[in-house]
Symmetry: C2
Subunit: 110 residues, 2 copies
């Protein structure tokens, strides 16, 4: 997964950090892929970055043009079902933070 | 690494996403640990969450009480040296985003 290519700020970030249960890795991975593909279809979606470390902490940051775009994604039907499954099966704990990106700086070797 | 325990919003997040070079894993890991410990000493530091996935994308989100706290950390001497080493050796590319956390929601099985 490359770095997300986002426009000049301001825009919005949803920072989702989580700890998994040991349950249903395959179902979780499949749904995570489906949700990434679905999110990309929401108007105002700008990109996503995701990593899960060896110690079990996962971080997914999705980027959005507006709070309205975030609200639309939050209410999307298949996403609501995935949120429920996450609380019932996949996550031991999570924190979701909605933040307004004010400044950004990039570096690239190329 | 557990989830960061942050106060009620508003507060600030620095979202640092990066792709590593294949160079100097040991030096990188040691400096990353040192920087986490140093950041925690800066007034206004609230917490940190970090993950690097199998595909090489790393995400570190640090949380801060104010923009002034972020600026103080950015200018810290050992951190400036680590930033230089990052551009010279460790990172193929990175993006650093400064964002104001407006809302947060948590879930925990306990």
């Amino acid at each position: 997964m490359p770095l997300a290519r986002t426009p000049e700020p301001p825009y919005w970030a949803v920072i989702f950090t989580s700890l998994r249960t040991p349950v249903d890795d395959a179902g979780y991975a499949q749904t995570a892929d489906e949700m990434e593909a679905l999110a990309a279809q929401v108007p105002g979606y700008l990109g996503i970055e995701s990593a899960r470390g060896a110690e079990g902490l996962g971080i997914t940051v999705s980027y959005w043009a507006s709070e309205e775009a975030i609200a639309a994604w939050r209410r999307q039907g298949d996403h609501l079902a995935a949120q429920r499954a996450g609380r019932e099966r996949w996550y031991r704990a999570y924190e979701l933070r909605v933040a307004r990106v004010e400044r950004a700086y990039g570096f690239s070797r190329e």
